[in-house]
């Protein structure tokens, strides 16, 4: 507990922790001091001078070192001759702060006037108009009339692309440097800076592509004026035309809290549509940030290619029918058949529970569509009051087989910050990643040896281990908490299972299981795989593992799209049902295709990788005729004579909570609980958080710890047999901007999207005749493909990396012969 300091602000006695800045001390006590450059998530800079206040301190007699007293015995206060910036001044005992006397009010008016001399005041055509701190503070403190001659205002470029995502209006910029500081200090992508000086000071970017950062959109939130806007939203709507709706990001397992703002518009044929995604504050999940994938990734939910009507196969063709017809056909064909179900990690918890229920009722089985293993996380994962934001000095974080910056950017940020607070970061990966810079220990292993490396650390089989492993093991011995992230770099299901078990063992042996802020976190490739593991669904990379025969029911899973060779598993089934947003490759092979509501059109919950159960709310009304997945599954069940909860998501969760111990005691009301968070954002003052939203709809709750799983006896390693001669080892890795069906429709990111490239060390490429930028042919039995060669010195020898989701039909490492594709025109 830090020492407390008592001071007086506007005559009120307040007590705050020492080192608190005066501006924050005031805010904590309901007194707003206007700010522009200050932001509580960043170090103060004292640039804008908006927060000037009058400050007095008790006078000390130099001779006696005692406070000088007034006649009435109270300490004599000496006021500084100048006003002081409250954003840079820490509180001190006995301090007297005056925030609303004439002197201070005059200073505010004067600073606003100064800012407005160079500001275009084009609020009526400004995106920020209506939610702009400058506008609000001008209304509150500004002068009624301007003394600066309008003709002498400077005119600057108003549409400056800082890359294709973020646009700058130079006239509106008030040089507060929040954007610059955010990029340098918060997310360590120092791609923005000031250029020039004085009134010519201007923001510039020097990355290629411009403003190259996965976090760029956050600057548009914290920019206190309309100088920074996203290409996605600019000129899209006025703030007051839109309604906010609380939601979650569905792009990765972090579970960032979002607010969608929606409006009904003629442009969209009179429909209500999502106009933008903004962060919603959850200090234990995403604070007030989101990554650009989350901000721009929602477009698939309103893509025109979405299915609106069920399809059934008649004479070999899929033809539209009504839901009644489709259900009737299902009732006929599927009666008394076991359902073999493949369920995707984008489904809600309730959806997954319903699918599991149908499988059980029908005597079949539901599988989780994943190339990552996670059966150990319900026991070894986080629970209770775990918070990555509380990790610091004395704690340890291990990141294994994950390029966290690409796989889950906000976790990358949270881990970076934990390291900056003093947590010991151990990074294990076969090649360097962005986290290396913050790591105390960096452990390199060969692809495929991940579990061996962990085992060496856990078993203190240190004689065999390298120096880094020994040093890391030493660090773990004294750690108070250990949080472990594991990803899927170079791993398929088998290797992932091996790694997961080795990591669980590491936690166990180190005595970390059950500690408050310790546990295992899977960096999943979908937002809600965690729920699947909590429900005990066995993982399946594709259809090969599912028993033949019976009804095949795919929900939010497209194995044939991932790998054309999976089509073979569709034949030989009695009946195939595909439930999805789009007419996927798998849907094209189905007997019945059922469209569903997007998650933005319904209620539900996701379990984040940190095992936090969180609610999302409908941002838009349900599309007529369509249903949420769980409701549709319940209808199918009903048509077959089984009883499932399909009335409301809240009831479905209650039912689950009654039977699944980890969910015990949780319900929709509990998930909607909020408590006060610091910093306060999203108030009408808009001083601090910019356009981040306050969280009024729920912070979610951790699941409780589940029973301990049984480990597999044999160590699991990715089986690599029958290596062809001259073959390279090809390993998958994840890129944030992928080409998956729930992200590809965000066309704005096309230029930055990963391409089908093979990253390879120049020394491995040379003997194979592979050159930078050339096309290579990869001989994969049954599915050969080509890829562009990228030479990259960070890739281990004999290995080539391919990005997931870009049409390489493999989830796990494999060996293949790679040859140049000869340019026919050249011969």
């Amino acid at each position: 507990m830090s020492k407390m300091v008592t001071l007086s602000i506007d005559g009120r006695s307040v007590t705050v922790p020492e080192n608190t800045l005066v501006v924050d001390a005031a805010k904590m006590n309901g007194i707003d001091i206007p700010v522009f450059c200050y932001h509580p998530k960043m170090k103060p800079v004292g640039m804008c001078r908006m927060c000037l206040v009058e400050i007095g301190r008790p006078m000390i007699d130099r001779a006696t070192n005692q406070p000088v007293l007034e006649d009435n015995g109270s300490p004599k206060i000496q006021f500084s001759p100048k006003l002081e910036t409250s954003c840079t001044t820490p509180v001190s005992e006995g301090m007297v702060v005056l925030t609303r006397n004439d002197k201070v009010e005059a200073a505010r008016k004067e600073i606003i006037e100064f800012i407005l001399t160079s500001h275009p005041l084009d609020c009526p055509i400004c995106d920020k108009g209506g939610e702009c701190p400058l506008q609000n503070l001008t209304m509150r403190f500004g002068s009624k009339e301007g003394r600066f001659l309008f003709d002498e205002k400077m005119h600057l470029a108003k549409h400056v692309p800082l890359g294709e995502l973020i646009w700058l209006d130079r006239e509106r910029c008030i040089q507060c440097a929040r954007c610059v500081r955010f990029q340098h200090d918060v997310v360590d992508d120092p791609v923005l800076d000031f250029h020039n000086r004085g009134r010519s000071l201007e923001i510039m970017t020097f990355s290629e592509p411009g403003f190259g950062s996965y976090f760029s959109g956050n600057t548009t939130d914290i920019c206190p004026v309309g100088a920074l806007t996203t290409a996605d939203f600019r000129f899209g709507a006025r703030p007051w035309e839109m309604k906010p709706a609380a939601s979650l990001c569905a792009q990765c397992p972090v579970g960032c809290n979002l607010e969608y703002t929606v409006r009904r518009e003629a442009k969209s044929g009179g429909a209500t549509v999502i106009k933008r995604a903004l962060p919603r504050q959850n200090e234990s999940v995403n604070e007030i940030w989101i990554c650009d994938k989350g901000r721009f990734g929602y477009h698939y939910t309103q893509d025109p290619a979405r299915l609106g009507q069920p399809l059934v196969r008649r004479d070999g063709e899929l033809v539209p029918v009504t839901f009644e017809e489709a259900l009737k056909i299902i009732a006929e064909k599927a009666a008394h058949q076991p359902f073999q179900i493949l369920a995707g990690g984008k489904l809600s918890t309730e959806d997954l529970a319903a699918l599991r229920g149908l499988a059980q009722e029908s005597g079949g089985k539901a599988w989780l569509h994943t190339y990552m293993s996670g059966g150990f996380t319900p026991h070894y994962g986080l629970s209770a009051d775990a918070n990555l934001g509380a990790l610091g000095q004395g704690d340890a974080v291990l990141v294994a087989a994950s390029d966290l910056h690409e796989e889950a950017p906000i976790w990358w940020l949270r881990v970076k910050q934990a390291a900056e607070r003093g947590a010991a970061l151990i990074v294990m990966n076969p090649r360097p990643t962005r986290l290396k810079k913050y790591a105390r220990h960096v452990i390199r292993y060969a692809y495929g040896e991940e579990s061996l490396a962990v085992a060496a650390m856990a078993e203190e089989n240190l004689a065999l281990a390298g120096e880094e492993i020994r040093a890391a093991a030493e660090t773990l011995k004294s750690a108070r908490n250990l949080v472990i992230f594991y990803g899927s770099e170079g791993l398929g299901l088998t290797g992932s299972k091996g790694l997961e078990q080795a990591l669980a063992d590491l936690l166990e042996r180190g005595g970390f299981t059950g500690r408050e802020n310790s546990g295992l976190i899977g960096v999943w490739h979908a937002p809600n795989l965690q729920a699947g593991f909590e429900l005990g669904l066995p993982p399946a990379e594709g259809l090969a593992d599912l028993p033949a025969g019976g009804v095949l029911y795919l929900a939010a899973a497209d194995p044939a799209g991932d790998d054309p060779r999976q089509a073979a598993y569709f034949s030989g089934r009695e009946f195939v049902i595909v439930q999805d947003l789009f007419l996927t490759e798998s849907a094209k092979l189905a007997d019945v295709v059922l469209p569903v509501l997007a998650y933005t059109e319904r209620e539900g919950t996701f379990v984040s990788g940190e095992r936090r159960l969180q609610r999302y709310y409908p941002a838009l009304a349900a599309r007529p005729g369509l249903k949420a997945d769980f409701a549709l599954t319940a209808l199918i069940a009903k048509s077959l004579g089984y009883e499932l909860e399909g009335r409301a998501a809240s009831l479905a969760l209650e039912k689950l909570a009654a039977s699944q111990p980890a969910f015990e005691g949780l319900n929709y009301l509990k998930l909607a609980e909020v408590h006060e968070q610091w910093p306060q954002v999203g108030g009408s003052d808009l001083y601090y958080g910019g356009t981040s939203y306050a969280n009024r709809q729920g912070l979610g709750k951790h699941l409780s710890r589940a029973a301990k799983p049984e480990p597999d006896a044999a160590p699991l390693r990715e089986g690599i047999r029958d290596v062809p001669k001259n073959a390279l080892r090809l390993v998958p890795h994840t890129r944030l901007y992928d080409a998956g069906s729930t992200f590809a429709p965000s066309r704005l990111l096309d230029q930055r999207r990963a391409r089908r490239q093979l990253r390879i060390h120049p020394r491995s490429a040379e003997p194979l005749g592979l050159q930078q930028g050339s096309q290579a042919l990869i001989e994969l039995e049954g599915a050969p493909f080509t890829a562009e060669i990228v030479l990259d010195e960070t890739i281990p020898g004999g290995t080539a990396l391919y990005p997931r989701s870009l049409g390489v039909p493999m989830n796990a490492p494999f060996h293949a012969v790679v040859k140049p594709v000869f340019d026919k025109s050249a011969s």
Partner: protein
């Protein structure tokens, strides 16, 4: 009397190392390194009463003693940014008597335990930069810089850095930012450079002239130095005299010399038939002082100028203005300068200098109205006390004092526009 700082005026070839050494050069440094503890050097400089010549007049020895003994390394940075209009003293030293300056820098480094010292030069000092690099190379050859100096464990290296031409980089924290390769903008204080300066380490920043005083102080002792100048402002100062005088230039005189003596005895007085009208004592950053007898008889030391005339002596860049000068024209010049040089970090200075420049341009362009005079004054007053660094405050001095003492000039400018000079 022979010069103490501008010694090249007495010994023409002193910029040659051999000549400098033949005239006692580096004896003081050798004495310090071989016979004195660093703390003794600090005490000697404290006792001499030497005050910073960069403008603020802070006692040099006291400043050195602020460096914490438990945080290392320490750095010393010589401020050779000399960009104040009307200031050209450091340049004369650097061009003609470079070794005395370097010796001073080396003494300062020894005193605070720095093993690396930097010279930050204004961007336009390119030829000085080259000459200084050559001098440093020669000192290394002569083993006056490097490891194991005079057979002791003391080592020292000096690096030079050429700025990109910005007045603000003379402000010590902006200088440090620029030296670190960043945009030259002042830092927030605290922490002060003495605790967290260059590369976040304890750092002393001293002006070129300040440092050039050190070799003679160590050589001849604090008492000798104190015998020069006044009690509170001991020693000699180079006064940069410019403007409407017959013999502008640098004059090395004891602190406490009167304006009258500088202007008339040394500077040859004004042109035939011209009357003195105003004085700026600290370059463009000055108040414009009405040049009455009281002003002319004021001794130029840090206390007297402030007490008698309400203006700082600053870097003692004395600009003389005669009756041919319209002060509104002068103020238009200074506001233009500050608008051009404001770093833009803080609102009042960035916007205020810009606004003031607009108003004065309007005045000079004959497009102003009488209310603009008060508007100009109000903008300046409204900047005061709010800026992040002193530059913004400096920019208001000439404006406020000019309008206060010479309002008719402004009224004439409003009426006559560009014709007024």
């Amino acid at each position: 009397m022979s010069h103490i700082l501008l010694r090249h005026r007495d010994i023409p070839d002193i910029k040659e190392l051999s000549v400098y050494r033949a005239n006692g050069g580096f004896k003081a440094f050798q004495k310090a390194v071989t016979t004195m503890q660093p703390g003794d050097v600090v005490n000697e400089v404290k006792a001499s009463g030497l005050r910073g010549r960069g403008g603020a007049g802070f006692p040099t020895g006291v400043k050195w003693s602020f460096l914490p003994g438990n945080l290392w390394p320490h750095y010393v940075v010589a401020n050779a940014d000399e960009s104040e209009p009307g200031t050209f003293k450091d340049r004369e030293i650097l061009e003609n008597n470079p070794y005395q300056f370097l010796e001073g820098l080396m003494i300062a480094a020894y005193a605070v335990g720095a093993q690396e010292a930097y010279v930050y030069l204004r961007g336009e000092f390119e030829s000085i930069y080259r000459q200084l690099n050559a001098c440093i190379a020669r000192l290394e050859e002569a083993h006056l810089l490097g490891d194991q100096l005079f057979g002791t464990d003391v080592r020292l290296r000096i690096y030079t850095h050429l700025g990109a031409g910005a007045y603000i980089c003379g402000e010590e924290t902006a200088l440090l930012e620029s030296l670190e390769g960043k945009l030259g903008q002042p830092r927030l204080r605290p922490p002060f450079p003495a605790v967290a300066g260059l590369f976040n380490k304890p750092t002393v920043i001293n002006n070129v002239e300040t440092l050039t005083n050190l070799p003679p102080i160590l050589e001849k002792g604090a008492d000798w130095y104190k015998s020069l100048g006044t009690e509170k402002s001991p020693g000699v100062k180079i006064f940069c005299l410019s403007g409407c005088v017959q013999k502008p230039g640098n004059y090395e005189l004891p602190l406490g010399t009167t304006f009258r003596e500088l202007i008339y005895t040394w500077g040859g007085g004004l042109a035939e038939g011209r009357r003195i009208k105003g004085i700026m004592a600290a370059g463009a950053s000055s108040n414009i002082i009405p040049a009455d007898d009281r002003a002319l008889d004021t001794p130029m030391d840090y206390e007297s100028v402030q007490q008698n005339l309400g203006a700082p002596l600053g870097s003692a860049s004395v600009i003389i203005l005669d009756d041919s000068v319209n002060m509104a024209w002068l103020v238009a010049k200074t506001t233009h300068f500050f608008k051009h040089e404001s770093c833009g970090k803080c609102t009042p200075c960035r916007e205020g200098t810009f606004w003031m420049a607009h108003i004065t341009e309007r005045m000079m362009g004959g497009k102003a109205s009488p209310e603009d005079i008060d508007l100009l004054k109000n903008v300046a007053l409204q900047m005061q006390g709010k800026c992040l660094c002193a530059l913004g405050e400096f920019s208001t001095m000439a404006v406020v004092s000019g309008i206060k003492h010479f309002r008719p000039d402004f009224e004439a400018a409003v009426r006559g526009g560009g014709k007024a000079k």
